[in-house]
Symmetry: C2
């Protein structure tokens, strides 16, 4: 009986690599003193095609892309990088879950029997897996160390995300040594650059890559975000993007549509805005729009740094 190790929907680098890495560890635990012992062989699977960043990482370290799985009815499974039913494969309630390794809030998945569930409040599942290797005395192969390092750099935005902890930094340092990566920062930029490749995307694709609607005091507000290693990568596309934002505003009946162009190296965001009332932006961020744009120094997070001040500006 196989154990399928699977990450969340819309897989990111951490959820794909952690499935590969935890499969390896579960198989090792069959021989050595593991925290749990599985019967069959553990195999990594994914819930969809990997993104360009993940593909680059797998190729760089010569690791095969896992098979795609959609339905887990009747299967024995382990979860990495999520513990919520909403992010699970089809028929998760008809699968037997034997382990969960994660770093998010505790989700709504329950089990009928005791299982291994290790969740730590750190920046990346790979950091938790690094601990599990250490704690059970299993050596990390060079290529898997590479995948884990890339996952940490991806999830923590090269240690710049507010979710980053000392444990992530320590793990990254040790993993880089095993993987033979000399400059961690440089490698991080190389990894993150893969999702910065916007040349082949339409303006609409760029806006919609990560786009969310909000109701702010009765006004429909849409905010997209794209993370880039350098805003120059998108410089020549801004006019085109603004035209598209205007179209979207009319089509969707928005009060405001905005796109965050976040520079993960400079640590700031250029906000492109099309709005019925520019004073809202000034109220929210204490800076005037120049044309349709404003630079927000230090702003990296939509959830924590853009939505709350905007909501306040609308409600006051």
């Amino acid at each position: 009986m196989k154990v399928y190790v699977v990450g969340h929907m819309n897989p990111d680098t951490d959820s794909v690599c952690s499935a590969i890495v935890f499969s390896y560890l579960l198989n090792k635990w069959k021989e050595k003193d593991g925290l749990i012992k599985i019967d069959g062989e553990a195999v990594p699977v994914i819930q969809g095609e990997p993104n360009p960043e993940t593909k680059f990482v797998l190729e760089k370290f010569g690791v095969e892309k896992p098979e795609i799985i959609e339905d887990v009815e009747g299967k024995t499974i382990a979860l990495v990088d999520f513990s919520e039913k909403a992010q699970a494969p089809k028929n998760i309630e008809k699968a037997e879950i034997i382990a969960i390794v994660d770093h998010h809030k505790i989700g709504d998945i329950t089990t009928p029997n005791p299982i291994l569930f290790v969740n730590l409040p750190v920046g990346c599942t790979a950091t938790v897996l690094k601990k599990l290797f250490d704690w059970s005395g299993v050596e990390i192969p060079k290529e898997l160390a590479g995948l884990m390092l890339a996952s940490i750099l991806s999830d923590t935005v090269i240690f710049k995300s507010a979710t980053t902890t000392e444990l992530d930094k320590e793990a990254a340092k040790e993993l880089a040594k095993i993987a033979g990566i000399e400059n961690i920062e440089e490698f991080g930029i190389e990894v993150k650059a893969k999702l910065s490749a916007v040349d082949e995307l339409s303006a609409r694709d760029i806006i919609l890559r990560d786009f969310k609607d909000f109701d702010m005091s009765g006004n429909k507000v849409g905010i997209g975000q794209i993370e880039l290693v350098d805003l120059k990568l998108i410089e020549g596309r801004k006019e085109e993007i603004l035209e598209e934002l205007k179209k979207m505003k009319e089509e969707g009946g928005y009060h405001t549509v905005a796109l965050m162009l976040t520079d993960i190296i400079k640590e700031g965001t250029e906000l492109l805005v099309v709005t019925d009332d520019a004073s809202v932006i000034e109220k929210a961020f204490g800076k005037k729009l120049e044309g349709n744009s404003v630079w927000l120094e230090g702003v990296m997070s939509r959830k924590k740094q853009v939505v709350p001040p905007l909501e306040n500006a609308f409600s006051s």
Copy 2:
């Protein structure tokens, strides 16, 4: 801001001792490299008066009984030995949960933020805590090692429960060394004997300590269980208990009322039975009642070894 560490309702030895032990570890983690860092001081609390076994253990190792807590509204808390809302203190949904350490099935408690959640499929929460001490390089004080050893012996019924793992046995061995306990088995019997003290209990109390009703093919069946280190402890009370079972049968309209007198050392159960149809017992267990009693060699679990054969006997 204090962090209240609390075990489940109807506290057993593991849930009381694990609250004390995890509080100590959380406080140590403030100084050393911990897996999480809390702000205030961690203090153990309990959801009700400890049972005689737990009281004996606390006294033996000179550890103070934790305060009782009923409502956790607005409090910062950590959970040990459970992850289900049904076993939580009042207003758990209005508390901030910062950590869970457990060894049961994964319950329905969710969190809005990432937290430490370490659950292992082992016999006792103290075994998981032993791992957390080892993994973070914190030394276990002698008296806490005693509490942890007692918890393991209590939860695993001196390693006889089906939930016992190699990790529990290893942990117990190392803890016994730290606590200065030479004979683990003997100490286990001493611990378990405290709940075997039936002298001060009425016959009805003995029957009802752990009593459950079942519907078996339309017949009302009640089965109680009491675990004893030696059946001699209850020998002189059997007639009285049988009289009480007869009364309960009439009062409650039962087809069958039974009490399992489980000898945890000999690993078997004397079943006292009052029934409308003795043939059901014979069908279920392949042995005839002698008077109102039958010895079932190797039977320790109501859930796994008594209810299923009885249900089969009723339905066939």
